[in-house]
């Protein structure tokens, strides 16, 4: 696809409330490449929490609002593989057999996860202005499997010449977030998060970065509890923040 003149930005409710700086950084990254970013105020949540809990009807009501919020035939960029996956892969199923199926398919076809859009559509390349740094890139399960965009993040980081990525043990394994799973099955989730955060901390990397805010909240929260002293644990950033910070003259 050629570089579009404008794109929608679907911030995700998590970034909206907890990591708005990541959302802002993502929009800056796009604007800097000469793209007009449109942020419809009518957007709320993709509906995944209810959908994954089995509350289809409630999820559909919320998802329908997103169909309303992004009507034009321009790409929708999402700074989360999990939410992007919900719209792209699950909306067609969620709306199957309903009058909104056509709109759902149309929206699904236009959705891009942020790093995938940057790498594949924009062929993003910017000079790394930062100090040498070591980073663990945690691929969310949605990035890896549902959306198949893990590679995009890897590629983007590889273009930052002063940045070195380190791979933790069992890198392919889930961090244990799983949305409501972390609350419904807290013991299992905590065991997974504990193993994953120990593996990440053991690399000695200075920064933990991911395409997904949920994983970051899960791992960041676990690391903070285990290592109360910030010097003992990696800093935690959304990949949009990292990419913007490293390539942007303040």
């Amino acid at each position: 696809m050629d570089k579009p003149a404008s794109v929608y930005f679907f911030g995700t409710c998590l970034i909206d409330m907890i990591l708005p700086q990541a959302g802002l950084a993502a929009m800056r990254l796009l604007q800097r490449e000469g793209i007009k970013v449109v942020y419809p105020q009518g957007q709320t949540c993709c509906g995944q929490p209810a959908y994954n809990s089995g509350y289809d009807k409630e999820a559909r009501a919320v998802a329908r609002r997103q169909l309303d919020a992004f009507p034009r035939d321009i790409p929708v960029v999402v700074p989360s593989a999990s939410c992007a996956g919900m719209i792209k892969v699950q909306y067609p199923r969620l709306f199957a057999g309903t009058p909104d199926k056509g709109r759902a398919d149309h929206l699904a076809a236009r959705v891009y996860e942020l790093t995938d859009f940057l790498a594949r559509v924009l062929d993003w390349r910017r000079k790394d202005l930062g100090e040498p740094i070591t980073v663990v890139l945690h691929h969310s399960c949605s990035a890896r499997r549902e959306m198949g965009v893990a590679e995009a993040a890897t590629v983007l980081l590889s273009r930052l010449e002063h940045l070195e990525t380190l791979e933790p043990d069992h890198a392919h394994e889930c961090c244990g977030f799983g949305g409501t799973f972390s609350v419904k099955q807290p013991e299992i989730s905590a065991a997974m998060a504990a193993d994953k955060s120990m593996a990440i901390a053991s690399t000695g990397a200075q920064v933990l970065v991911s395409q997904d805010g949920g994983c970051l909240m899960n791992l960041g929260g676990t690391l903070t509890r285990r290592f109360p002293d910030p010097s003992q644990r990696p800093a935690v950033k959304h990949i949009a923040e990292l990419l913007w910070e490293r390539t942007h003259e303040p």
């Binding site: 930005f9 911030g11 970034i15 909206d16 409330m17 907890i18 708005p20 700086q21 959302g23 802002l24 929009m27 970013v37 449109v38 942020y39 419809p40 105020q41 957007q43 709320t44 509906g47 929490p49 209810a50 959908y51 994954n52 809990s53 089995g54 509350y55 289809d56 009807k57 409630e58 999820a59 919320v62 329908r64 609002r65 034009r72 199923r93 399960c141 499997r145 392919h172 394994e173 244990g176 977030f177 799983g178 949305g179 799973f181 972390s182 609350v183 419904k184 099955q185 807290p186 013991e187 299992i188 989730s189 905590a190 997974m192 504990a194 909240m217 960041g220 929260g221 903070t224 509890r225």
Partner: protein, 470 residues
């Protein structure tokens, strides 16, 4: 979460020894499978073919079952049909009684576990002896299998040595694996010679030729199905495939996905009892086809896909939940992702609804399934069934997991998120009052610092920059 499940999970997570054994085993199996499929393209083609072959069988199941029966009977294999496990057990008992068998040797069969066959036979005064090494170890320990391929995967060498020393003090077995295996060989030899009847499972039942295909490494399967006078094969109705030439792609998918082996030591294709003039083989071969709820699963177009399963175990090997809990925590015959989709449908979501919930939907299982069963999608479907049955659904216990409190929460959540004005109002309020939001979020906060609400939402920041215009 049911208290029983919570207790089992707690016990599993707290058992260091078992966790270590299982983790090591899973890591090994994951690596082996990876090495067995070095060519991505070949794997993709094979998986697609596997899906189509098994899908075709399911689409034509009643006809193929009839063809299987016809050809088996023509070959001299007597075919029996059991709607329930109880019926299946009764059929097996009947056959054994007719032959006066007091002892029966068994090859590994997950279907026989499903039927509870061993306990049933014991109650009827018949001694079942498991001949597969892993199953034999479990029989000594009086435990159930914890994995569908390596049933004793949760045990280490020292535990096995202790079992052998306690049960067979007269046989020197030592603590090394070679010694233990040799001891098992010696012990089992006697049973092979003596038993009047042998019971086995079936990996694939070929309709075209009336052939039962069994794979194994130890040779006990062959011995159970060749030496005794009677061979009884128990098989789920979904195991049938249409054609003989579909065996090779399915077999290579099965062995490589399960243990990373290009092929098992033995691939048996049994098509009948001893023929005129032959010097060995059973005089009677029986095939017991078990429904036990599979026909109900089959009736649902989406849920039917779980019946494609070829029982390789790759899903549980790659599951981050299974590799921490082990199979016993699930409390079911089939554990892991396959169990979490199949068992609630066989036993009801009201009883086993915790299982589909015990997943982060990471998708590792679906990624490796050799017949491309969309496991995460099926788990999600079962969660939805637990809340409300889909139109036309026949899932047992549908709707049983909908709790008034949760329904209220999701209704409110929906209300807010389906109304942008309300959403913006409440999120705006939350950012202003963020210091009043509790930092303890129940289960989340037991092991994690709580997330902090930002001072201004992204909606606000975007509006301030004038980004809503098109």
């Amino acid at each position: 979460m049911s208290p029983e499940f919570r207790v089992r999970v707690g016990q599993a997570l707290g058992n260091e020894r078992v966790r270590r054994n299982i983790r090591r085993a899973m890591d090994g199996l994951v690596l082996k499978r990876c090495k067995a499929f070095p060519d991505e393209h070949e794997l993709t083609v094979l998986r697609r073919r596997g899906k189509l072959i098994r899908g075709h069988a399911l689409a034509n199941l009643p006809d193929l079952l009839r063809e299987l029966e016809r050809n088996c009977e023509r070959n001299g294999i007597r075919v029996h049909w059991a709607e329930t496990a109880e019926e299946g057990n009764g059929i097996v008992l009947d056959i054994l009684r007719r032959h006066g068998a007091e002892l029966v040797i068994k090859g590994k069969s997950m279907v026989s576990e499903e039927m509870g066959l061993n306990a049933y036979l014991e109650a009827q005064g018949i001694e079942p002896v498991e001949t597969d090494l892993g199953e034999f170890i479990l029989q000594l320990a009086d435990e159930r299998p914890s994995h569908i391929i390596g049933p004793a995967i949760h045990k280490d060498r020292l535990e096995v040595a202790e079992l052998f020393a306690n049960h067979f003090p007269e046989i020197p077995s030592g603590e090394d694996i070679e010694g233990l295996t040799a001891a098992a060989r010696q012990i089992m030899r006697e049973y092979f010679g003596r038993a009047l009847a042998g019971i086995s499972g079936v990996n694939f039942a070929v309709a075209e030729t009336g052939t039962l295909c069994l794979v194994e490494n130890e040779g006990n399967g062959r011995l159970c199905t060749t030496v005794p006078q009677v061979h009884i094969a128990v098989c789920g109705i979904e195991k049938v495939i249409a054609r003989l030439d579909q065996l090779p792609p399915l077999l290579t998918l099965l062995t490589r996905s399960a243990t990373g082996q290009p092929i098992t030591t033995y691939v048996n294709m049994i098509s009948g009892p001893r023929r005129e003039g032959e010097l060995d083989g059973p005089g009677e071969v029986h095939l017991v086809l078990l429904d036990n709820g599979r026909s109900r699963v089959h009736a649902d177009r989406e849920l039917r896909s779980i019946l494609r399963c070829i029982r390789c175990g790759a899903c549980m090997n790659h599951c981050p939940v299974y590799s921490r809990l082990g199979g016993h925590a699930y409390g079911t015959v089939y554990p892991g992702p396959i169990g979490s989709v199949l068992e609630p449908q066989l036993q009801g979501i009201d009883r086993l609804g915790d299982l589909p919930d015990a997943s982060s939907l990471c998708g590792a299982c679906g990624e490796v399934c050799p017949v491309r069963i969309p496991l995460p999608g099926l788990l999600r479907r079962l969660r939805a069934e637990g809340i409300r049955g889909r139109k036309g659904s026949r899932v047992i216990g549908r709707g049983s997991r909908r709790k008034p409190m949760h329904q209220l929460i999701w209704a409110l959540w929906s209300r807010v998120n389906a109304c942008p004005v309300l959403y913006r109002g409440l999120t705006g309020l939350a950012t202003r009052l963020r210091w009043l939001v509790p930092t303890s979020l129940g289960p989340w906060s037991r092991t994690r610092a709580a997330p902090v609400i930002a001072p201004r939402s992204l909606h606000e920041l975007a509006r301030a920059e004038g980004l809503e215009g098109e």
